[in-house]
């Protein structure tokens, strides 16, 4: 069986991709890994779509109301569920995937090659951003069925999604860096996220001044607000709220750079 012979010391220098080529190489294989895994693909896309469909079926007929801050129910929920899907595909996906990959040695294998760390993470980031865009497009399409008009300011949506996805990836890497046990990763990630979603108005509008003020300094509510304008009201980018999201993204990235481990914990 092992009949092939070596062709001697390789005389084929320069095959390694550089810069953009290496990045494209990395993104391609991240995409392959993702789409081949039926669970991750289905869970990532089906959950937000089912959610917005159910909400639409329950509340789709209602007009504008003061409960939803002067919006219709679907105008309120399309942005918050879009935000939720970005959280899931960036923060949620990365915390779990990185902790798991570290535990079973995939990250160690990556570290054993000359692939620079930046290229590995850039590949992951590009993948998460892409998934986020698909998710938001699906949610927008379902929202359209329930009478929420398609957004018109594509620049604002693009900038908001790109920035927020990058920031929640940064947070995901940060949290993955401090999780020691991969079995606990989904629980830890959700434990952090779930209360945050509630007080940030993802599931229902919050009318408490205090809660809104607190949530305003945390990453989720500013993201909801930043998506609301471009997605439901045809407005431009909401730089003020995006700045808060960006600050959290930077903080997560700093923790990630400082604490990230490639090897499984041995003791």
């Amino acid at each position: 069986m092992m009949t092939a012979t070596l062709t001697g010391p390789p005389a084929r220098p320069g095959r390694r991709h550089r810069g953009p080529g290496l990045l494209a190489h990395q993104i391609w294989y991240e995409q392959l890994s993702f789409w081949r895994n039926p669970q991750s693909a289905i869970f990532t896309f089906v959950f937000p779509v089912v959610f917005v469909t159910v909400i639409g079926a329950l509340l789709g007929g209602g007009g504008r109301s003061s409960y939803f801050g002067g919006l219709s129910a679907l105008q309120y929920y399309v942005p918050t569920i879009a935000a939720l899907s970005v959280l899931g595909s960036c923060y949620g996906q990365l915390t779990v995937a990185l902790a798991l990959r570290r535990q079973n040695g995939i990250l160690k294998r990556v570290r054993a090659t000359p692939l620079p760390a930046w290229a590995y993470f850039a590949g992951l980031l590009a993948h998460c951003v892409l998934v986020s865009f698909v998710d938001v497009a699906l949610i927008g399409a379902v929202g359209r069925l329930y009478g929420v008009p398609f957004p018109s300011n594509w620049f604002a949506i693009g900038v908001t999604l790109l920035l927020a996805a990058a920031c929640f990836c940064g947070l995901g890497v940060g949290v993955a860096s401090v999780i020691r046990n991969a079995d606990a990763a989904p629980a830890v990630a959700q434990l952090v996220l779930f209360p945050l979603l509630f007080i940030s108005g993802t599931y229902m509008p919050i009318h408490s001044q205090l809660l809104n003020r607190v949530a305003g300094w945390l990453p989720v509510r500013p993201f909801n607000e930043a998506l609301l304008g471009p997605l439901a009201l045809h407005e431009g980018p909401d730089w003020k709220h995006l700045a808060v999201v960006a600050a959290w993204g930077c903080a997560g990235t700093v923790v990630g750079v400082w604490r990230f481990r490639w090897t499984p914990r041995s003791e």
Binding site: R12, R111, L115
Partner: protein
């Protein structure tokens, strides 16, 4: 001759456990060296320090002229070394060919995907998903990923664990072929026949220190040790009746001698004169396993850590 690996006075502790106390050895370019030792002897820790996965507490290490503890030269080191470790894994949903092609894209001058697939014996499996491979096939894929970058130096951590006999012979053939092309190889193994078959030199670790080093045929004084002649004591005779000094073993008597020819001649003449048969007559030189067991049980201080440092 240039050293591919040079280690002196290496130390590493985990909390109060001194996994590596004093390890020093060298590997010359183009050599196969086997690192032997019981679990917990410090093999894996030593390897991980040389591979750049762990920082050392003290001592000197140089791999291909670079310090593996120096982050700034890490990429160059990984470009020039290949790793086949036990706790490495790959994405389960990619095919064999995709997994290897992905890794090939990371190196400056890789082997071709097809060449490596043929070399490790995965031809015909290229389109199978990694998750559908058997344990032995996954190890072959690990080996392929270690070779794809055409490394000058290859680290093999128990490369044939889980292989059947034929697969092991194939893997040995690949390893010998790599050496003939000038690849330096540092391997660990619990299979002493493997060390005997492959290694130019073995380094025996026990309780975090080197207890012996040398060619597999000579390590632990094997080449100068006494041969053992054993046979069943004939009925009606006692040990004292034999013409050479002997002692009772389990189910046989054992003669230890440095002059095998002379002792055999005296024994067979003695038996022939009496018309008796020396049932089960065998002559053994001490095996690498004998030397290894002697070294690692004798060399370990009392209370040495009985734990694996993986």
């Amino acid at each position: 001759m240039a050293y591919a690996i040079e280690v002196t006075g290496l130390r590493k502790s985990y909390g109060s456990v001194r996994a590596v106390r004093d390890v020093g050895f060298t590997v010359r370019s183009g050599e196969i060296v086997a690192l032997l030792g019981p679990n917990g002897a410090g093999k894996t820790t030593t390897l991980e320090i040389l591979e750049g996965f762990r920082d050392r507490d003290g001592g000197f290490t140089e791999v291909l002229g670079l310090d593996p503890g120096d982050r700034s030269s890490g990429r160059e080191l990984r470009e020039r070394t290949g790793l086949v470790l036990q706790d490495l894994a790959v994405e389960p949903y990619l095919t064999v060919r995709e997994t290897i092609a992905r890794a090939a894209g990371y190196y400056f001058a890789p082997r071709t995907t097809g060449e490596v697939i043929g070399l490790v014996g995965l031809a015909g499996q290229e389109r199978r998903k990694v998750r559908a491979l058997s344990g032995g096939q996954k190890r072959r894929l690990d080996l392929a990923l270690g070779l794809i970058g055409a490394p000058e130096l290859l680290f093999l951590d128990e490369p044939t664990t889980g292989f059947d006999v034929a697969a092991r012979r194939d893997a040995w053939q690949v390893i010998r072929q790599l050496r003939s092309e000038g690849t330096t190889i540092l391997l660990t193994t619990h299979n002493l026949a493997e060390a005997q078959a492959l290694a130019d030199r073995v380094v025996v670790l026990s309780a975090g220190a080197v207890v012996a080093e040398g060619a597999p045929d000579a390590v632990g004084g094997r080449d100068t040790a006494q041969a053992r002649i054993s046979f069943a004591l004939p009925d009606g005779y006692g040990i004292d009746d034999l013409p050479v000094p002997a002692r009772a073993g389990t189910g046989a008597v054992i003669v230890e001698t440095s002059n095998t020819t002379r002792a055999l001649l005296e024994l067979t003449r003695w038996a022939d004169q009496r018309g008796i048969v020396l049932a089960g007559l065998t002559v053994d030189q001490p095996t690498l396993e004998d030397a290894y067991l002697h070294l690692t049980t004798q060399g370990a201080p009392a209370g040495a850590p009985e734990r694996t440092t993986r």
